[in-house]
């Protein structure tokens, strides 16, 4: 039984390790709240990858060329892979994947609200790759330096693989922007609908973010929501210009003093409305996930039964 003095010493050593930029590894002692916070963040990240397969999956059977179909398929498959890497990282903290998925399906765990927006046109597939993956990558690059080892290593692997996701999305946008009048219109429309939700992906302003301060202290998060968002806004301006599309934010202005773009305010009412169940696809995404899970129940049962039978037979032989 550990005394509270022991606990304090362990906690001091833990925080020291973090200050020294050493990674925390699965078997290390860690405060219960750190563990809980990590499980929340990593599983939310994993769920986002998995639910994120759906909006683009909506166009998998309709991709307008075979090359695009192959690219989209491999991208969506990567998202399943990234979900897997992240569930792996979360499992090292002692929570089995089945529990994490049960929490998602019970509505106790969240996923990124961006995936509650519908994909209506092929342009949306381009905009998701370019803007949604683009925003995710900005966040994930920062998380490569997160304090928990398995999460950081997962991020390194994911960032390496995701670099193609954003590029393929932007390539779709280039083809549309340089295509027919209808295609250009499609590109502009998708940009208009996905730009602001992509900015919302970085979360509320730092002053209103519930988990930010402690996550920064523990170096789970390495940069603040607003800093990361600014990075994304800055990098996106020339990309929009290159496409010859109109920027959806009429307030976008270069600020020489800050060396950043000033921008209009995000509609936070929309952000909270969608998070709280008023997006076009909140219910649909969850129903899809639960249906697939339920339809797979007999398969999972069969595996277990088969393993038992075969184990029994192996023993008989021996």
């Amino acid at each position: 039984m550990k005394t509270s003095a022991d606990e304090q010493e362990l906690e001091r050593r833990f925080q020291q390790r973090i200050e020294d930029e050493q990674k925390i590894e699965p078997k290390d002692w860690m405060p219960a709240a750190y563990r809980k916070n990590l499980i929340r963040q990593i599983s939310q990240h994993a769920h986002s990858e998995v639910i994120g397969m759906q909006p683009e999956g909506n166009f998998l059977t309709r991709a307008p060329s075979l090359r695009r179909k192959a690219v989209l398929l491999s991208k969506i498959q990567d998202e399943a892979g990234h979900g897997l890497y992240l569930y792996s990282a979360a499992e090292t903290l002692g929570t089995p994947r089945s529990e994490l998925i049960a929490a998602l399906q019970a509505g106790e765990a969240k996923y990124a609200s961006i995936f509650n927006y519908p994909t209506q046109t092929w342009g949306d597939v381009g905009a998701i790759g370019w803007l949604v993956d683009g925003a995710a990558i900005v966040n994930q690059i920062s998380l490569q330096r997160t304090s928990y080892g398995p999460y950081a290593r997962g991020m390194v692997r994911i960032c390496k693989e995701e670099s193609f996701h954003q590029r393929q999305g932007y390539e779709i946008m280039i083809a549309l922007a340089h295509g027919s009048a209808e295609q250009r219109e499609m590109a502009q429309d998708s940009l208009n609908r996905f730009y602001w939700p992509a900015l919302m992906m970085f979360g509320p302003h730092d002053r209103e973010s519930a988990h930010s301060a402690r996550s920064m202290q523990w170096k789970i998060k390495r940069e603040t929501n607003d800093d990361l968002r600014q990075k994304f806004i800055d990098q996106t301006v020339p990309q929009i210009a290159f496409l010859g599309l109109e920027h959806p934010d009429s307030g976008i202005r270069w600020n020489e003093e800050r060396q950043h773009y000033d921008h209009g305010e995000i509609d936070w009412n929309e952000f909270y409305a969608v998070i709280n169940g008023n997006g076009h696809c909140n219910r649909q995404r969850m129903e899809h996930h639960i249906r697939a899970h339920e339809e797979g129940a007999w398969v999972r049962d069969a595996i277990a039964a088969h393993r038992e039978k075969r184990g029994g037979r192996k023993q008989q032989v021996a």
Binding site: K27, D28, W29, S74, Q77, D78, G81, L84, Y85, S88, A89, E91, P96, R97, S98, I101, A102, G154, R157, E161, H293, E294, A297, W298, R300, D301, I303, A304, H306, R307
Partner: protein, 95 residues
Amino acid sequence: MSQEKLELFEVFIRSRRGLDHKHVGSLHAQDHEQALEYARDCYTRRSEGVSIWVVRSRDICASQEEDSESFFDPSDDKPYRLATYYKLPDPVDNM
């Protein structure tokens, strides 16, 4: 509802001939055979490997942090096991 009852496996991949197998992550599978196949599908989509090991996570025995002082500190005072301990004259120092 039926939860997944698969087992957890750790995956190690040799990326090129001549290199060590390196831990890359984990996955769920029924048995070793299936774990190998899923490791191929999940962890080598970009030709990352030429050889895969899988091992049941529960079969791994890991050192504990509480033991780390007695496990690892005793090596700290044996610098003579390192090449850099030996200062040789410059003409032969590339030994």
